[in-house]
C-alpha cells in the first residue's frame, strides 16, 4: 500500500462567471489537470466529484455522469456532497481508492456556480448546509452562525476584531500574485475594521466572497506514476474525516471545532506525522474566525492562541507557519464544491515550487489541507508530502 501521487492539477479562474455553466467550468479544470498530468485519459478509471448547491443554482443534480462526460471520461462518476467540504470528501475517497489498489488513476474535482443566482440566492442556497428546521427557519445565515462562533470565542478565550482583520489582510496579501484568485487587492487592518458590518463582530472583509469556479486533480498510484514516468513527486500520505452535530445549538463547543480535531487526529496518524511536522497549510477560512478554529483544531495552536497568529506574523508568508498562501477562501474565492480540491491544487504547486508564493516555502516537505462543511459539522484533513 503506497501513497497516491498528485499527478496533475487544474483550476479555472475563481471569480464571477455567471455566463458559464458548471459543466463548462469543470471541463476547463478537468482538461487542464489531464494535460498537466500527461496521462492517457483512457487510463482514468473513475471520477470523484464534489458539488454543493447544483440543485438550487443550476437545477441540476446527478452531476457525476454529467461532469465525466464534460471532460470526456467514460467512467463511473460519483457526486459527493458534504456542504463546503464536498470535494474534500471526494479527495478522501479518491485517495482511498487508489491506495487500496482499486484504481491506478482517478480524477477528483469539484465545481460550483453561485453568482448566477445573485447574493440573496446564494445566501439562501448556502443556508442548506445548516439545520433548516432549527437554524435557518429561525433566521440564521452563515455569516450569522460564524459571528456567533466568533462571539463565543472572544468570550471564552479573548481576541479582538483587530486580530481577525490581520487574518484578512494576510490572506489578501497572499493572493496578490495568484492569477486564479478572485480578490487581488491589498487591504489594511483599517480597511477591514472600517468595512460594513455583516454580522457583528464580522465585517465585509471577514467574509469570503461568492464565487464561481472549478478544480481538478489526477491522483495516481506510485507504481503507475513510476511506470509512466510521470512528474509526480507530491504524495497524499494521510487522510482524515470528522463529524459534529449539524446545528450549533446541539454542540458541546462553539469556540472549538471537534470535527476538525477528529479529522486531524486521523490524518496525522494515517501519515505517521505529528502537527509539529506541518510546514505550511491551506485551511477553510470561509470567515476569518474559521481560520482560527482550524489552526487550533488542527493542533497547531493551543486553544485561545490561534487568534493572534496572523497579527503576530506567524502565519504570513514570512512567518514560520504560512497559512493560506493561495489567498485562502477569503481572497482566492470559495466556489463551494471546488474548494477542497483547489486546496490540493495549491499545495501541490507550492510543494513542487511552481506556485507564485512558492518562495515562502522553499525547503518545505510537508503540507496540510483542511476543508470544512457548514459550521464545521464535517471536516476533512489531508497530509501531503514530497517524496522520491
Amino acid at each position: 500500500m503506497s501513497d497516491p501521487r498528485v499527478a496533475g492539477i487544474g483550476l479555472t479562474h475563481f471569480g464571477k462567471h455567471p455566463e458559464r455553466t458548471g459543466r463548462d467550468l469543470f471541463a476547463e479544470a478537468g482538461l487542464a489537470a489531464l494535460d498537466d498530468a500527461g496521462v492517457d485519459p483512457d487510463d482514468v478509471e473513475e471520477l470523484f466529484y464534489g458539488n454543493f448547491m447544483g440543485e438550487l443554482a443550476e437545477h441540476q443534480g446527478h452531476q457525476g455522469p454529467l461532469m465525466a462526460e464534460a471532460v470526456g471520461l467514460d467512467v463511473p462518476a460519483t457526486r459527493y456532497e458534504s456542504a463546503c467540504a464536498s470535494s474534500g470528501v471526494a479527495v478522501r475517497e479518491a485517495v482511498k481508492t487508489v491506495r487500496n489498489g482499486e484504481s491506478d488513476v482517478v480524477m477528483v474535482g469539484g465545481a460550483e456556480r453561485m453568482t448566477n443566482i445573485g447574493t440573496a440566492g446564494a445566501t439562501d442556497a448556502l443556508s442548506i448546509a445548516a439545520d433548516d428546521l432549527y437554524e435557518i427557519r429561525s433566521g440564521m445565515t452563515f455569516p450569522g452562525a460564524y459571528a456567533l462562533m466568533a462571539r463565543a470565542y472572544f468570550e471564552e478565550y479573548g481576541g479582538s476584531r483587530e486580530d481577525l482583520a490581520a487574518i484578512a489582510v494576510k490572506n489578501h496579501e497572499h493572493a496578490l500574485p495568484n492569477e486564479y484568485a478572485q480578490m487581488r487587492q491589498e487591504i489594511t487592518v483599517e480597511d477591514a475594521l472600517d468595512a460594513p458590518t455583516i454580522a457583528d463582530p464580522l465585517g465585509l472583509y471577514d467574509s469570503c466572497p461568492i464565487t464561481d469556479g472549478a478544480s481538478a486533480a489526477i491522483i495516481a498510484s506510485e507504481e503507475y506514476a513510476e511506470e509512466n514516468d510521470l512528474d509526480a513527486s507530491v504524495a497524499v500520505t494521510g487522510t482524515g474525516q470528522g463529524g459534529d452535530k449539524l446545528a450549533l445549538q446541539d454542540r458541546q463547543y462553539h469556540a472549538r471545532a471537534p470535527a476538525t480535531e477528529a479529522a486531524a487526529d486521523e490524518a496525522y496518524a494515517d501519515a505517521g506525522i505529528s502537527s509539529d511536522d506541518v510546514d505550511f497549510l491551506e485551511v477553510h477560512d470561509c470567515f476569518t474566525i474559521a481560520e482560527v478554529l482550524a489552526l487550533e483544531g488542527l493542533g497547531l495552536y493551543e486553544y485561545g492562541e490561534g487568534i493572534g497568529a496572523a497579527a503576530r506574523g506567524e502565519t504570513t508568508r514570512e512567518g514560520d507557519l504560512p497559512v493560506n498562501l493561495s489567498g485562502g477562501l477569503k481572497a482566492k474565492g470559495h466556489p463551494v464544491g471546488a474548494t477542497g480540491v483547489a486546496q490540493i491544487v495549491s499545495l501541490t504547486k507550492l510543494l513542487e515550487g511552481r506556485h507564485q508564493r512558492a518562495d515562502a516555502v522553499e525547503d518545505a516537505t510537508t503540507a496540510l489541507a483542511h476543508n470544512a462543511g457548514g459550521t464545521v459539522a464535517s471536516a476533512t484533513v489531508h497530509v501531503m508530502e514530497v517524496r522520491e
Copy 2:
C-alpha cells in the same frame, strides 16, 4: 480481505408520510438496523448516506451529519448523490471501506421525502436527475424519458404494452404480503392496459409511485461478526459501478443500459461468479421498461428476450428467476435515496428466510441488487451470498 456481512437491517413503511421529516424517517430505519444487528452503537465508525432531492424537498443539504445525529452516532458521515442510485453508491463505498479494513462496522442508509412537495414538485425535483440544459428545458420528464426508451426498445427488439403490463402485475402481486410496501393491491393486465396513459406507451401502472421512506443496514467485517457472535450469514461478495452519458441524446444506445452492463461485469468478476449463478434479484424498475433493460444489462437475458420474461412467468415468484420479490420500486415504492439500501434489506431478509416471500427462494444462496440513476446514467450492482 474477507467479505463484509450484512449484520442488521431496517426500513420505514414506504408510502405517504408528508408529516414526517427526513431525519424522523431515517432515525426509524437506522435505529431498527442497529437493533436488528445487536451491535453496540459505539462500535459504528462511519455513516454512508444516500439522498437525492433534499435540497428541493426539504431545503436541506449536508444531511450526512444530520442523519448521524438522528440515529445517535457521533461519526464521520457522508451524503452520496447519484440520483436514484444514491444509496447504491453509498452501499458500494461502505462495502469497500469494510472490506479494505478501514472500518469494522459502518451504517449505510438512505432517505427521501417526496410527497410533501406534491406530484408537480416531485416531478420537477426528479427531473434534475436528467440534463437540465438539453433535456428538462425541452420539456422532458422522467416518464417521458422512459417512454422514449420503451419506444426505442419496441422498435429495436419488439415487445408490447401487454409484456410491460405483466411486469407490473407481477410486482404488485409480489408486494401483497409486504408490510413495508406502498402498493398492496393486486392488479390485472387489463387494469394496467386500461389505466390512464402517462407517456405513451407507458401507463399509470408502468410507473412507480412517489414515496417517502428510509432504509438502513449495518455492514460489518466477517471478523467483527464472528468475534461478536452476530447473526450475519449474508455477505456482500461483489460490487460494481457503471456510468453513461447523462442525456439520452448523447447515448449510443436507447434500448440498452451500458452503465448496468459495466456495473454487472465488475460485480460478477469481483464476486467470482457469472450471471448464471444468480438465483433471484431486485432490480431498479422505476418504470416497467426499466426492469427489462436491467435484466438484459445484467446478462440474465439476451437483448430482446427480457421483455417477455414476466409474461412467460420466469421472473414471478414461481419462476426460475424471481425478480423484485419485494414488489420492486413499482409496488414497494421508490423513496429515491432509500431505494438502493432497501434492495439490500429485502435481499438480506429473503436470503435469511425472514421475508414474507422467502418461500419462493428457499434454497437460494446468491442474489443480486441493481440500482440505477436517471435514465441509467449511473448504476450499481451488488452480489450477495449466503456464507458460513
